[in-house]
Structure formats: C-alpha cells, structure tokens
C-alpha cells in the first residue's frame, strides 16, 4: 500500500513517527502551515517557521525516505491578531518556492471580519501564483463555516477543482460534493472522522476527488491512521485500486496542479550523500 498523507504537521512529530510512517508505506507528505498551539506575536516567528518548512523539515523527512512538500499561509486563528497580519506581505516570496504546492491552511476559525479579509486575500494569492488552496473548516459552527467558505471560494474566481475543503464529516460532505471542490477528510481520534466512518462516506459518495489525511499534529492524533483507513477500505470490500486512488493518486492529482510536486526517484533506496549514508550522525 503506497500512501501520500496530504495534510500532516510533521514539525510537531518525532523522528520515530517518520520511521513508523515509512515502514507503514507513507512515501510522501504535505505539511500545511498552521497554528502552533502557542500564539505567535510577530512576523519573524512566522518566517522562521516557514523557512523550516522549506529547509530543515524536508531534509529531516528525506533522511527516512519520505518525500516532503508544504503549503504556506497565515492561518485563520492568527489572522485575528493585528501583530500577525503583516505575514500576508511576506507570503509571496514563499509561494515562489519549489517545495510549496498550495496556499494553506486558510479559511475560518471564528468567522470574524478579520478572517474574511485574510481568507479572500490569500485566495487571490493562490490565483496569482497559480497554486491550489487548502481550506480549513471550523470545528465550531462547522456547517455554516463550510457554507460561508464555499461562498468566499466562489467569489474569489479560483477554479473549484484547485480547492480542497478539509475536515469534512458526514453532514458537511453534502454541502461540498456538487461544488467541484475536493473533499478532505481528517482521520483523527475523537474530534474528526474515524476509519469506519470514512468507509461509510466512501460507500455513499465514491472515491472521486476525495483526500484522506491524518492531520496529525501536537494534539491526540495518529500519523498511521491513513494506513488504518486503507485497511478498513479493503475489509469493507474496496479494491486495492480504490485504496491506491484515495491514498495515492488523488493527492498526487490535487497537488500536482501546482506543477511543483516532485516525486522523482520516490522508490530509490536509502538516501545517500555521495555514497555515504546521511543517517550517520547528528551534529
């Protein structure tokens, strides 16, 4: 089973996770920029974080044979802090980077006017940089948040096929399925969707335009739930090809729209540095 996790916050995960993920078949990940748990208070905090998403973290992932790309944005929660809003001005230089395959996570947290402004501005950046967009949907008042997100997306003029509406569930999937946007599901213990529930959604709506992610981060989450979902699909009678479509070909197609997804030599053996293993030491 080859797995592409299209939404996982590896910065918050351990090296052991990379090893377990690689052993479970996770060959590629996308890490969206997000809220770190502790609020940031200045632009420099963000640029250091974004630099790590295009610098150290892809290197760390590569040591374990996991191909790494990122999405960059001012997240909805921190869009409400006037000290963080100038982050919007530094985003264009990150949206030019090879390893950045979308604008995200953007969208709503509490649906404030400040969030409206940041959301619309960043959809415009996605259009200007010819990149897809990853839209987070709120945990509170979710259905209305999804409806409002879809309205902002429609107004922005971005092509719906270049947008994923993420963290959907049994209720909100119905709002998105006919819009042409991609359907994102986070398999996350307790608060989001479980593997058996996702299987039921797939039975009802099919595998087209569906992205399944672990959204693993600093919360109670599990980077191997993508694999568990693939296994639950097989048990429920889906074919190997169905699983490959959902867990590999769909995310490749979605992020491939950036023109920057680099999956060359993905099946190469252990990474080496001019013949020497780069895993030799720390420093």
């Amino acid at each position: 089973m080859r797995i592409f996790d299209p939404h996982i916050h590896m910065t918050s995960r351990t090296t052991e996770d990379y090893e377990r993920m690689a052993a479970a078949g996770v060959k590629a990940v996308v890490e969206p920029a997000f809220w770190l748990g502790q609020p940031r208070t200045n632009v420099g905090s963000f640029t250091d974080y974004f630099d790590s998403l295009v610098g150290w973290e892809p290197f760390r992932a590569g040591q374990f044979g996991v191909r790494y790309h990122a999405t960059v944005a001012l997240n909805p929660k921190e869009a409400n802090d006037p000290r963080c809003r100038p982050v919007l001005d530094v985003l264009p230089r990150y949206l030019d980077k090879d390893g950045v395959v979308a604008v995200g996570e953007i969208g709503y947290d509490s649906m404030t006017p400040e969030e409206d402004a940041a959301f619309a501005a960043q959809l415009a950046l996605a259009v200007a940089h010819d990149l897809p967009a990853l839209v987070h949907t709120p945990h509170r008042d979710k259905a209305r948040g999804v409806e409002r997100s879809l309205a902002v997306v429609a107004e922005s003029g971005i092509e719906p096929g270049r947008v994923v509406i993420d963290h959907l569930n049994e209720v909100t999937v119905q709002l998105v399925r006919d819009t042409g946007c991609w359907l994102g599901f986070s398999i996350y213990p307790d608060t989001k969707v479980s593997p058996p529930r996702l299987v039921e959604v797939l039975k009802a709506y099919g595998t087209e335009r569906v992205l399944v992610n672990s959204a693993a981060d600093w919360g109670r989450s599990d980077p191997l739930l993508t694999r568990a979902t693939g296994e639950a699909m097989l048990l429920a009678g889906f074919t190997d090809d169905d699983v490959d479509r959902v867990l590999w070909r769909n995310p490749v197609e979605f992020y491939g729209q950036s023109g920057r997804l680099d999956l060359s030599d993905i099946d190469a053996p252990e990474p080496t540095f001019a013949g020497n293993s780069i895993l030799r030491g720390g420093g």
């Binding site: 630099d51 295009v54 610098g55 150290w56 892809p58 290197f59 230089r93 030019d96 980077k97 090879d98 390893g99 023109g259 920057r260 680099d262 540095f273 001019a274 013949g275 020497n276 293993s277 780069i278 895993l279 030799r280 030491g281 720390g282 420093g283």
Partner: protein
Amino acid sequence: MTPNELRAALRGVPDPEWLAAAVRGVAAQPAAIARFFPAAGRRCGRADLPDLPGWTADEAARALLLATMTADQAEWVETLYRTGDAAEKRAVLKALPLLPIGAVGLPLLHDALRTNDTRLIAAALGPYAEHLDQPAWRQAVLKCVFSGVPLAMVADLDTRADGELAAMLAAFAAERRAAGRTMPPDATELLDRLATAAGREHHKEA
C-alpha cells in the same frame, strides 16, 4: 570555474529559453533575480550536470544568475541566502567563489555550518572556505566527520589540515573506539596522512 563554463554545462537543460531570458533579465535589472532565483529549480531541473562534476542544474543556473548581475551582488547574495529554501542557500554558497565580493559572504558560511543539513555543510566547505579562520575551519571538518559528509567535499583539505586538527581527530577516534564504533575510513586516512607528515617533520628536526 567561470560563468562561461556554467553556461556551457547548462546547454542541455529542459528549458534553455527560460534560462537565457532570466540571464538577460538579471543583467538588465538586478532586482529581477528575486523571482528567477527560486524558479530555477523547476525550470532547469535538478539533475547532475555531466560536464560539471559536483554541480546540479539548479545550482549552476542560480550561480550563473548571480554571476550575471552587474551591480549589488553583495546585497543580493545576502538576501537570496537569507530568504532562500535549502536548495537556494546551497546554490548561493557554491556561487560565492565565483563572485567579485571578497570576504563579504563569510557570515553565510558560518550560518550554513551551524545547521545540521549535510548538503549545506558540504557546500560551505568549497574554495570560498579559505575565508574561514583556522579554528572555525577545523570545527567544520570535524563536523563533516561527525555528520557523514565525505571529506572529499572539503577544498584544500591536505594543505590546510594541521596538528591541531590531527589532535581533534585522534580524540574523536579514541571516543569512537571506546564506544565500540568505527571511524569513517576517509577520516582515518586523513589522520594517518597527518601522523606520517608529523613524523617526517619530527625526523627533520631531530
């Protein structure tokens, strides 16, 4: 290495038109490099260049863009490194010895040598490392041994290696032995060469 050699080695890139236009754009307007520099990887590819051992297409294209600038090179070297992703940083480091900027890029070497990214460490130890003072250079060589960067990547290794580096390597080898671990063969070979040279020196004095 000259800009002409870079240009010749880049003849086979997938999109030579783009590169030619970027070179013209940067020559006419230095600030244009800000958008061309990050795009060079996806436009020129990242393959090893057969005519330029040790260089990839993206590195060579970025070095060529820097070498083409007619003004403000020192400022742009700093900016492109500070705002670059890992591949852009590596390209700046490799371009440094080709540029008429003296030792201005030295802080970038220190920055790269503080990282744990072996590709940056290696790129910082090319010919431009002549500007590093001896204590910093020795630490950098030891860091290569520690982190698995082949010593073949270090410019002027044998002319610059000294008794103090030999002492540091010997101490490291002793720690490794005590831990039941091996030394990388290239480090052991360097230590042997330094010991032989020291013996010759000692013999001469006696």
